[in-house]
């Protein structure tokens, strides 16, 4: 019996160790981080002023009480109420209206985001043996050390236990073999292998799942086209160029003739900001416009298109621009832009990030299935309210949800409730 107990003890201790090693309190913060990235990061940074103010230290700035919740729920309302701080904030930031989030964020979500902001520390270049893990906060470092210390204590205790048992056995006259040294002890070796296998497997699988994902992908494009200049400084509507986003599954990259609508007249870059690549190299905007002219077959000195001598219906020398596609979805995924933009009324920035601040576009979102599903679980649909006739009338067929809402069996109808997380909504 005692033999079994020993094995049991060791296994229990090992499991305890593994559990200790793997559990940390990141889950809550990660949630906040995801929410922050999905909802706030388009306009806010934690440490720097951006479209909106830096969020770090919000507690010391904003009036107390539930002000912060009211502001996030619907800032226009707070400003309209004449709240002094709200008005000041609005004026200080170019009178840019903050999106109202009462449909998207619950109080817990806001708390999670604020907690994330409070806990946020500038990223430290942490050389991690296992690689890849980012965003380890100070807390988890402490927890890590604590875990190691506890593990050591547990190990020492196990050793002490076994020595004591040996002594007591000797006293009772039970002859026991010499204890096997730790590095030869099969139990320990087995435990070590198991731990390595579990941890290694965890990271291998994570890495495998990440294959083909390209978050932060930022290739160099054939023309240095700055969304910051067009959508940011010049405030051109996204849909002017990406009209497909409201009609089609594809947002579509504009054809060259759309570029030329403006660039027939604008042949120089005279913007306020210097154009700089991510790697610090400066870019001559005027030269980039000349590249566009070459593609379009436009002669900038005569201000006319080249003649069409080869009768292909296009100016001679013109050719389509081979942009490098950044946002790639696998072939088995059906994604429809118009569904999200027109029906779901989502902002472009929700998925594409703060595009109007990007000189060169990078992939903001992971575009993973988990990321899609997460949003579908949280986002509420524009549910039809029979009593006052608001919302999308399509949803009037969901009689049951209407009743459930009325009877408070349900507090909101999310995309998930209408089947938005079912397989064949995106895979067919």
């Amino acid at each position: 019996m005692s033999r079994y107990r020993k094995i049991f003890n060791r296994i229990f201790a090992s499991i305890f160790l593994v559990v200790l090693l793997s559990v940390n309190q990141q889950s809550f913060a990660a949630d906040g981080e995801a929410l922050f990235k999905a909802n706030c990061a388009a306009c806010h940074k934690v440490d720097k002023d951006f479209t909106g103010p830096a969020l770090k230290g919000w507690k010391d700035r904003v009036p107390g009480g539930d002000w912060i919740y009211r502001w996030i729920a619907n800032s226009a309302e707070v400003i309209a109420s004449g709240d002094a701080y709200a008005v000041k904030l609005f004026n200080d930031h170019n009178k840019t209206q903050m999106t109202a989030f009462h449909n998207q964020l619950k109080k817990e979500d806001v708390d999670a985001i604020l907690k994330y902001v409070d806990d946020w520390a500038p990223p430290v270049a942490a050389p991690s043996a296992l690689g890849g893990e980012t965003g380890t906060s100070n807390d988890s470092l402490i927890f890590g050390i604590l875990t190691m210390v506890l593990a050591l204590i547990a190990f020492v205790l196990l050793q002490v236990n076994s020595n004591l048992r040996k002594l007591s056995d000797e006293k009772e006259g039970v002859i026991r073999p010499e204890p096997v040294p730790v590095y030869k002890n099969k139990t320990y070796i087995m435990v070590a292998i198991l731990v390595l296998f579990t941890v290694g497997g965890f990271y291998t699988i994570n890495a495998a799942i990440g294959l083909g994902r390209q978050q932060d992908y930022q290739p160099q494009q054939p023309i240095f086209y700055s969304h910051k200049v067009h959508a940011g400084t010049n405030q051109i509507s996204c849909l002017y160029c990406h009209g497909g986003a409201q009609d089609s599954k594809q947002a579509s990259i504009p054809s060259v003739n759309v570029c030329m609508n403006c660039h027939k007249a604008i042949d120089k870059y005279e913007g306020p900001d210097e154009l700089v690549r991510e790697n610090g190299v400066k870019v001559d905007g005027t030269a980039e416009i000349q590249k566009l002219y070459a593609y379009a077959g436009w002669n900038s000195s005569t201000k006319s298109y080249n003649p069409d001598n080869d009768n292909d219906g296009m100016p001679d020398g013109s050719k389509p621009i081979e942009w490098i596609k950044i946002h790639n979805l696998p072939d088995h995924v059906y994604f429809n832009h118009s569904q999200h933009v027109k029906v779901g009324k989502q902002q472009c920035q929700t998925c594409h990030g703060n595009i109007q601040e990007m000189p060169e576009v990078h992939q903001f979102a992971p575009l993973s299935m988990g990321w899609c599903i997460n949003c579908h679980r949280q986002t509420k649909v524009d549910f039809y309210d029979k009593d006052n006739g608001t919302g999308n009338k399509f949803y009037s067929i969901y009689e049951k949800f209407h009743n459930d809402l009325k009877n408070h069996k349900m507090d909101s109808v999310t995309v998930e409730s209408i089947g938005g997380t079912e397989c064949q909504k995106c895979h067919y």
């Binding site: 290739p219 009609d247 942009w323 072939d331 079912e422 064949q424 067919y428």
Partner: protein, 1048 residues
Amino acid sequence: MKKKYWQSFGELNYTESFQESTKNEFKEELPLADLDDKGILEATTPRRDFLKYLGFSTAAAAIAASCEVPVHKAIPYLNKPDNEIPGVANYYASTYVNGGDTIPVVVKQRDGRPIKIEGNELSTITNGGTNAQAQASVLDLYDNTRLRYPMQKDGKSFKEVTSFDAFDKMVGADITGKSIALLTGTINSPTTLQLINEFISKHPGSRHVQYDAVSYSGMLQANEACYGKRAIPSYHFDNAKVIVSLSADFLGTWLSPVEFAYQYSKGRKVTGEKVELNRHIQFESMISLTGSNADDRYTHKPSQIGAVALALAAKLGVAVTAPSIADARLAKGIDDTVAALNANKGAALVVCGSNDVNVQIIVNAINEAIGANGKTINWGMTSNYKNGIDADMVKLIDDMNSGTINAVLVYGVNPAYSYSDSKKFKDAFAKVTSVSFNAAMDETTELCKYILPAHHWLESWGDAEPKTGYYSLIQPTINPLFKTRAFQTSLIKWSAAAGSMVNDYETYFKTYWNAKLGSVDVYEKALQDGVIEPASMPVAGGTYNGAKTAEAAAALASVKGAETEIYFYEKVSIGNGSQANNPWLQELPDPLTKVTWDNYAMISPAMAKALVGIDVMTMEGGQQSNYEVHPEKPVIKVTAANGKSVELPVIVLPGMNKNTIALAVGYGRESANKEDTATNIGKSANGAGKNVYPLIGFSGTNVNFSVATAEKTGATYPLAQTQIHGFTEGRAILHETNLKSYNANPEALLEEVAKERESITAGGSKDFINDATIYPNFEKPGIKWGMSIDLNTCTGCSACVIACTAENNVSVVGKQQVQRFHDMQWLRIDRYFTGDMENPDVVFQPMLCQHCDNAPCENVCPVAATNHSSEGLNQMVYNRCIGTRYCANNCPFKVRRFNWLDFTGADSFPDNQKPILGGYMDESVMQMNDDLTRMVLNPDVTVRSRGVMEKCSFCVQRLQDSKLEAKKQQNPKLVRNVKTACMQACPTHAISFGNVNDKESDVYKIRNVDQKHRSFYVLEHLHVLPNVNYLAKVRNTDRHIGGEEAEA
């Protein structure tokens, strides 16, 4: 004994081999031939090799995975067309034309590529119906055997002519001063006919010869004799209470099957308190698609058709002598038919598929006697589907030989293949200057001196006048893929006076129609609608002249039959063979025989016993017992009266006349040099069946039967059949009754089903859905999709199967794989026989995924790759599927399809196209892997890769699209407009689809109000709760179907 449905003789007679075969649900044997009896370790693939491969593939995968993600380019338009939004489909009205066959259609175009053909619902002729050939023709556009540029003969091969101008000059010089024959199929395009006339007037001595591979010359000439018009009237099957067909396959291939099927189905719909149906009686030699839909059918030898017509005529009061009919059943059938016709004068119609002018004259006399003229036969508008006269072709050959005609322009026909005496044609053809305008290389084009390929109809402008005053316009939906030119442009160029303004067909067409319609606005509206129709339908009778009747009767009385006769027919898939290189059509199972990729000799069980020694009644032991369960079929040699013979495998089919061998035309396409067939005519046409056109008898007019002798050869030939996929095992799959019983008590039809439901519901509860199972019933809060299929109006024409294939990127697997039961069609049409073997009744039942709410497939998937949606869809998730195939095993309807190979080139590993064990992938499948052919794929549907399961999705991409539109418009009613591909294609509107939760939807009303007495679910007692319901068949006959009550 309850009435019994059977799919095979073995099932009917419960033979030894059948019992053996039923033990193994999946027929295919594991091809472990390599293993011998040496045990697994000594086998060629032992365990160590397995481990080596495993290790290597893991390492390879790791290396492959660590490679960088490939760079994808996104290349927008240089100048985007205004009406084009990438990712949004455009629809253009156009017209499918193929040698006189005319179907107004709407073409779905995605990003500049036509990808799907739909029926044009604005046409009152077809009412939105299509057929298999029209559905499949989109694939012909991307056929890689299409000719790519103008050519001229250079020794044995052809060389490119670099420009159209050079071609015009060269050919212009060659044909100047010659007497030219324009040899075309039936042309019903007003502009083309006008251009042909202009051309002929510019080239004296020239003429236009219309040639139909399957000729209606007898009918045209009979009408000329009786009504003074060499034309075919319009038929109104919808006005007929009694329809008698003498060998006319009007639901499958005769004249205008889409139009007739719609009219016919109107009289087959079960509606109202006191149900009235039309009565359809068929006299025929083989069992045709139309015959299998008939209320009563009688068989006779092909040569007896005249006797049957005469007997009918005589008894209806026409002054002819009735010949004696020896067959008692047939004689009684004639009497019954006469009684039915007499009772419905003015509301009856007799049609006849014979090409014998004398038979057609008698049929005209019959129609006069029953008052059909002006009622069910409308001379107010003629049908312009077929104009070819056999004698014209004979004269053309004579003139080519004599030198009266010394140049021939061929457009859209292939007489070197389809003419009955093709050698005579070829010899004469060699003597003249020949130009071919055919779009693809074929037997005739190979012989031509010059080739100027014409556009595919999807690339063309054009028009058609299928019926007098009813026009249908053709507009291009894609720029010509190759350097091709419209046939009409050549006519213009080669006949126009110098300095003419109009020198291309597009301009000519627009000028013509703008002038005819009066204004640009009307023209553009017509182009958008696709059809121009008169405000009201002209109806008129013809002036009948019965003078020739006696002469015809005398001629018919002298027809001598023989012991064995051949009957020639067209299949609904391949037709006359012009689309033989279409793999979709080749793989479409024949509705009755379920054979793909081949033609064969169809014979009766009696003839099988006498000729090849197969007794389907007993099937004991030896090779003969394998007849049904193995693809190898005995081959017979059939020799026609003209001495030509063909060797074909036999298919034994109940309902065949016992003295008749039925052979399908349209197969056996072959280049002059046999090795070139695959490259010239195509990989799919290559090796598919044998050409039987040469066997057709010719006696001044083409007749579609021939006296024959047949002998056993001893050889066998494998046929790929999809029939033996499953059998009823006496289960409740079908319900049907006759009209009398139904009218007497409609509830009796499904009484037993209701009782059974009650008996398996626990605790006396009435709630079958919730209380007959231990599983919970999940709510469908918003939409619940459902389909209803009416077995009364489903004719088995198979248009839906091709529509489904086109819409859902369903793979072609090739003959070899069909033989191994690896066929992929999501929708199949099950065919059940009932009754005896000589005169069975047939039921067609389209079978697709039933989207069970309590689905057996879902429970067994280890990775939840198939599961249920809150809208009632049984979802199949390809990217999650690991290919255990448990679901297919557990599906009671056997509708799941497994990708045994990478059939459509979806994978990046080319090895996935090679079977690991046994077999190979046919060349024709590789044809579907070509970059050009793959342009037909629907971009909204995943192309499935090897190793995943697939099945009908209820066209979920269309459902999603309709919901999106409804959400955008904020109007839930818009989802009522959704149509699945099969439903859209159906010429008889047998399929209804919609949201069952919506009480205004068609499908709700059918199930709960209009058709509640007929609505049943297949295998309902399994409590799988299907979302597809069927409407029981009601036949308009007094017989008890399948001997149900007689045996009780």
